[in-house]
């Protein structure tokens, strides 16, 4: 459509958000602005998606030198890996403005800023630029959580902020280390992500830098054992923030691993892959079991989200095409299903003024449409065949079994835990006897129903006919592996039980 389409997707929401913050706009104006801007972003994104050529390389590249003496540039571009995270943000965020209509100005303004910052982090092709957006997306979350969160919001705010900043500052040191290494090896300053793959990194400092990146992304994802901020933050945050955190921001953590850790630290990654894979599996199981025990449905969804992030991360750690493609597919699937579930949880909380599962019951009889939508999103989340959750999980498990049978089997069995808590929660909230607080529950209004409908349809379409989506992902994933011969070579000797299956180059 026009040349700087990525910049528009990034800066249109940020500028609109800042404008709202500095002007004394009323909350209605703020909401309408938010809606218009996010819909405009959606239109631009759909156009971008349509003209995306799936070459596997970065497309829609924008490049302006920023700090020339250090080779830092304003460098944007997307490929099949980042496209879907960008699209998830653009498709999902407009829903918030339609569903939650009575929030304050700052709520909508911060939401716009975080949308732009997340798009920036996904599109950035320069490490320093990535870092700028990566930090920038935390600030709106900090303010939304602290200003509009639940009663115990302050400890939760501090926890998430300090935790993520600690992680990202360590990543900053690692980024600088990469830049300096590049300068030392190629006698030129450069921070472009794609160039870093050429680096030859080994030794103890490289391993430390690897963990600098890994911990930052593990905190954001969150990956066991760095998940402890998650239950508090997800539960205390206002619905839109939880939605943003779980649907998109957590995915940017995984995206960071795919984009920055895997190609650059191939040797270290191969060395520690089995450890990371186990941490993914343990996270899945631990958070799944914790979810069963929750009495608060938002907190339960928080643990469920963490559990699913475990499997998405596992797909990355398995280092083969199937698992990685599955991960990226699952990123979108999880964004749609869990994101929508959190929005439903917000609606449930708004209308019944409780989050306790035991206080609810019999909602299906009062609100059949709501129950139906909820059921579809929930089934997608547990990975029922026919929904998009199935495709992704299937591919990840397939790749995991190829990588390491034990891990594959463990991952497969821990999916059952997901079914347990989800269905049990659904039974208690939507069926059984009607309780006092759900007696007056109103079904989704027409606007709300129409808002959710496209996403629900998307869940089913992506589950039944995944090919058009997969064809956009595969070239980039294949390219990722073709660049990384050492990874595959290392895997054969160290981690895989069936070596001949791990070679995925052809």
């Amino acid at each position: 459509m026009f040349e700087h389409v990525l910049s528009v997707i990034i800066f249109l929401p940020i500028l609109a958000g800042l404008l709202l913050l500095v002007t004394p706009a009323s909350r209605t104006i703020a909401r309408v602005t938010g809606l218009v801007i996010s819909l405009a972003t959606l239109v631009v994104s759909i156009d971008l998606y349509a003209s995306f050529a799936s070459t596997g390389h970065l497309e829609f590249v924008e490049y302006f030198p920023w700090i020339q003496s250090l080779g830092i540039a304003y460098h944007l571009g997307i490929d099949g890996i980042s496209l879907f995270i960008l699209m998830a943000g653009s498709v999902l965020l407009p829903m918030v403005y339609l569903v939650f209509t009575t929030k304050e100005k700052g709520y909508y303004a911060n939401l716009l800023i975080v949308q732009g910052a997340m798009a920036g982090a996904v599109c950035a092709a320069d490490m320093v630029l990535f870092y700028v957006f990566w930090e920038l997306m935390l600030l709106p979350v900090f303010f939304m959580l602290g200003l509009y969160g639940g009663p115990k919001r302050l400890p939760a705010t501090l926890k998430i902020t300090l935790y993520t900043i600690a992680g990202s500052l360590l990543m900053l040191a690692a980024i600088v280390y990469l830049g300096v290494s590049y300068h030392a090896q190629f006698n030129e300053w450069n921070f472009a992500i794609s160039k870093m793959a050429q680096l030859n990194l080994s030794g103890r400092v490289a391993a430390v830098a690897f963990f600098g990146f890994m911990i930052a992304f593990a905190i954001k994802t969150p990956l066991f054992p760095f998940h402890t901020w998650l239950p508090d933050a997800y539960t205390e945050a206002p619905t839109a923030t939880t939605f943003v955190l779980s649907a998109i921001m957590a995915k940017i953590g995984v995206y960071g691993i795919i984009r920055m850790v895997v190609p650059v630290f191939d040797e270290q990654f191969a060395r520690f892959a089995i450890l990371l894979a186990y941490s993914g599996v343990i996270g899945m199981m631990y958070c799944g079991i914790a979810a069963i025990a929750q009495k608060d449905f938002k907190r339960m969804l928080a643990f469920s989200s963490a559990s699913h992030m475990g499997i998405i991360a596992l797909g990355v750690f398995c280092m083969n095409i199937q698992a990685l493609t599955g991960s990226i597919y699952q990123i979108v699937a999880h964004a749609t299903s869990t994101g929508v579930l959190f929005l439903f949880a917000g609606i449930l909380e708004d209308r019944t003024e409780t989050r306790t599962i035991d206080d609810l019951g019999g909602i299906a009889a009062k609100a059949p449409v709501f129950a139906l939508f909820f059921a579809i999103a929930m089934l997608a989340s547990v990975g029922l065949p026919g929904t998009n959750g199935f495709i992704g999980e299937f591919m990840i498990i397939l790749g995991a079994i190829k990588f390491n049978t034990v891990i594959g089997v463990l991952a497969g069995t821990s999916l059952i835990i997901g079914v347990c808590y989800m269905l049990w929660m659904f039974q208690r909230v939507f069926f059984e006897k009607s309780s006092a607080s759900s007696e007056t529950f109103k079904d989704l209004s027409l606007v709300e129903g129409l808002t959710f409908l496209p996403v629900i349809i998307l869940i089913i379409v992506m589950g039944i006919y995944p090919q058009p989506f997969l064809s956009k992902i595969t070239p980039s994933v294949a390219l990722q592996f073709s660049q990384n011969v050492p990874v595959v070579a290392q895997t054969v000797t160290t981690n895989a039980l069936l070596p001949e299956l791990t070679i995925e180059q052809k």
Partner: protein, 472 residues
């Protein structure tokens, strides 16, 4: 000759202006307001001249005119620019500050200009006696400014502490200069460098001892561990604009001369680098420990100033004496100055009569009552904490890059850990301002708009410095 004069012009303007202000302040007709504007004009004029010199002129060493005791380099120009900008902001925010506080006389503004002339001289000095003279011009003016509120006990305590310890530091410096002179037979940096190059640094006890004493004086003025104990009390006792002035302009001048002295010879720097490493680490962590416990905003900022000294020492450890440009240090100083001065400018008009609002508690709910001021303070705090896209982030980024580039990876990681710790007290103020209901209406703040304007200009600076890092 004309070129030399042009390069020296900012110093001449500031020096002559200071004397002029001092003389005119004897006239009763000239009230505080006019002197405030007068000093602001002097600073602005000198700033513009310096800026034009920065843009057009190449670095000329006027060894002819001053026998090599003053050298203008790009680094000293940048440092001078920062100092003059700090002086301008200080003069303007003082004007607002003294709408609510009554201990001002016209001499106050004259003294700020005097201090600036000392600082400017300090950035250019390449000879130990000149450094000492410049140091004392600056320090004497600052001593008086710290204790300007004579009826205030805290202020008096502050000036006594600062004066006593500062006098010790000055004595150490002269002692060091005497030692070095004894060994070299000259006090010029160039000669010292030649001497060390031909004799070796560790061969001469007088050079080792002399440079140790000189470093002690610099470390004292820069508020580095273990000479940091005075900082918190002195910053707390001084008036808010003066605290800001000390924290930024004075630190800039000291680090300029510190860097200039350290890079005179590679082996001098190499000889002290191991100790500077530990001093830097301790400065960061001790500063953090002090800052975490503070209840008063000014004391917290004082302690965070110690931490920032630690970051600057990282840059000093990483400087390369052969290709020294000082750009990393100058950039960090500019970034730090913008953030710190901004907070003190905001405190100048939010502090109330007699600076009654001091603690974190007093600023609770500021965002509800004065949203723009709260947003500005938050931006300054985020800049000091090093969150992008503010200037502080870029400064920190350059420092870490220079440290890792120089092979000081441990130091860089420790610097990062220190800035993680420092997040806590910066966030604490933001949390206090935003996440609580307002208890105070902040309605007694003055009608003078100069300090608020300064604050918002500095907000722009914080972003501009980050987005257009021209100096590097």
């Amino acid at each position: 000759m004309t070129n030399d004069l042009m390069l020296l012009m900012p110093l001449i303007i500031v020096g002559a202006g200071a004397i002029l202000l001092m003389l005119t302040s004897a006239f009763e007709k000239l009230d505080n307001e006019i002197t405030a504007y007068g000093s602001a004009i002097i600073f602005a004029l000198a700033f513009l001249v310096q800026l034009s010199a920065c843009i057009t002129g190449k670095a000329i060493v006027f060894s002819e005119a001053f026998n090599g005791i003053l050298v203008v380099s790009n680094f000293s120009k940048a440092a001078g620019l920062i100092i003059l900008a700090c002086g301008l902001i200080t003069a303007l925010s003082s004007q607002t500050y003294f709408k609510q506080n009554s201990f001002c006389t016209p001499e106050y503004y004259s003294l700020t200009v005097f201090a600036a002339s000392g600082m400017l001289l300090l950035t250019m000095a390449q000879e130990l006696i000149s450094v000492f003279i410049a140091l004392e011009i600056m320090s004497l003016a600052i001593y008086i400014l710290v204790g300007y509120d004579r009826k205030n006990v805290i202020s008096t305590e502050a000036v006594l502490k600062y004066l006593m310890l500062g006098a010790f530091a000055g004595a150490f410096f002269t002692m060091g200069a005497a030692f070095v002179y004894g060994a070299v037979g000259s006090t010029k940096f160039v000669k010292i460098s030649q001497f060390i190059a031909s004799h070796g640094f560790s061969q001469s006890p007088a050079i080792i001892g002399g440079s140790l004493f000189i470093l002690v004086a610099f470390l004292f003025k820069a508020a580095a561990f273990p000479f940091h104990a005075w900082v918190v009390d002195v910053y707390d006792g001084a008036a808010a604009p003066i605290t800001g002035y000390m924290a930024t302009a004075l630190k800039t001048a000291i680090f300029a001369v510190f860097a200039n002295f350290l890079v005179i010879d590679g082996s001098l720097q190499a000889g002290w680098i191991k100790y500077l490493f530990y001093i830097s680490v301790f400065t960061m962590f001790v500063g953090n420990l002090i800052a975490i416990g503070q209840q008063s905003l000014k004391r917290m900022l004082a302690a965070s100033g110690i931490v920032h000294t630690g970051y600057l020492l990282i840059a000093l450890v990483a400087v390369n004496s052969t290709t020294f440009t000082g750009s990393v240090i100058a950039f960090y100083l500019a970034a730090y100055a913008a953030g710190t001065l901004g907070i003190f400018a905001a405190l100048s008009y939010l502090g109330g009569v007699g600076e009654k609002r001091q603690t974190f508690e007093d600023f609770k709910g500021l965002a509800k009552v004065r949203p723009y001021s709260a947003a500005a303070i938050s931006i300054f705090l985020l800049s000091m904490a090093g969150i992008p896209p503010t200037a502080g982030f870029m400064g920190k980024f350059y420092i870490i890059t220079s440290a890792i580039d120089a092979g000081q990876i441990t130091l860089a990681v420790l610097g990062i850990i220190s800035s993680i710790i420092s997040m806590w007290y910066y966030l604490r103020l933001i949390i206090n301002m935003y996440f609580y209901e307002a208890q105070d209406q902040f309605s007694d703040t003055t009608s003078s708009q100069l300090a608020p304007i300064c604050t918002f200009v500095l907000v722009v600076c914080v972003f501009a410095i980050s987005l257009y890092p021209i100096i590097i």
